[in-house]
Amino acid sequence: MGQTIQIAINGEARGVEPGATIAGLLATLGLDTRKVAVERNAEIVPRSTYASQALSPGDQLEIVHFIGGG
């Protein structure tokens, strides 16, 4: 019955369940929370708050990790 809300992750439009949290999103995406970092609307999201932060329509998320670089 709930329609999805629209957000952007790493520049791509995505729909998520209303009330979904960042923790939930990461789980859905199959990402290990210990190996990524999240920026929401240009603000760092502390890992400790992933479970408490519900996503809002129009949220711009950046989800990053470490890769090889010089």
């Binding site: 970092a37 920026e39 502390p46 950046e62 890769i67 010089g70």
Partner: protein, 264 residues
Amino acid sequence: MDHVQNTQPDMWEVAGRRFTSRLIVGTGRYKDLPETAAAIEASGAEIVTVAVRRVNLSDPGAPMLQDYVPPNRYTYLPNTAGCHTADEAVRTLRLAREAGGWNLVKLEVLGPPPFLYPDMPGTFEAAAALIKDGFEVMVYCADDPLAAKRLEEMGCVAIMPLGAPIGSGLGVVNPYMIGAIIEHATVPVLVDAGVGTASDAAYAMELGCDAVLMNSAIAHAKNPVLMARAMKAAVEAGRLAHLAGRMPRRTTAAPSSPMAGLIR
């Protein structure tokens, strides 16, 4: 030098951390992650630079750098490669801090191709913001002794002038200015970028650098693992030669065997 002669380890310190290896290596440009891991192990490096990039949402299970280059074994030094403004660099390193939990970082604000030369005004701006935000900043910069001194005075924990453009392999082109920076610095000075082969790394250390940072010289060698071993030895050789104090140069000869007692 005493500590060397009486065989205590010759360590160097940055931001309160002590290291034995004076070779910092990048983790980019390798054929694959196993080669990355093998080359880094062969290099003996204790610090590795890493980049921060968006997770690939379409393949979240892909092998990750951490699985091959464990952060509990190597000190990760997140960089800002690809950042051309102070803002991008600061955002990137804040994400890195959250992802890794450490605040020792490599700042590089780069100009456009084809030189990717350090953008010094952008570097000053980003360094100020990062230091204010509690980061410990190892900073990539031009071989400009005034800029180096200012970055040190701002609170950067290491000054890392280029030997030559990133990935050029031209070596240390301006030893006079690298020497000038070393002579007046009170924090570690590293040559970052430009090293192409082992003798370049040894030469940088002979100038008095505390350490050398490189990536392409190893990753783009025909055999990266062998070159990593070469660089490990070269950095040690250059460091020891610096401590030993080289012989003077002369344009004429000096015999190395006694002239007395020759048969007639």
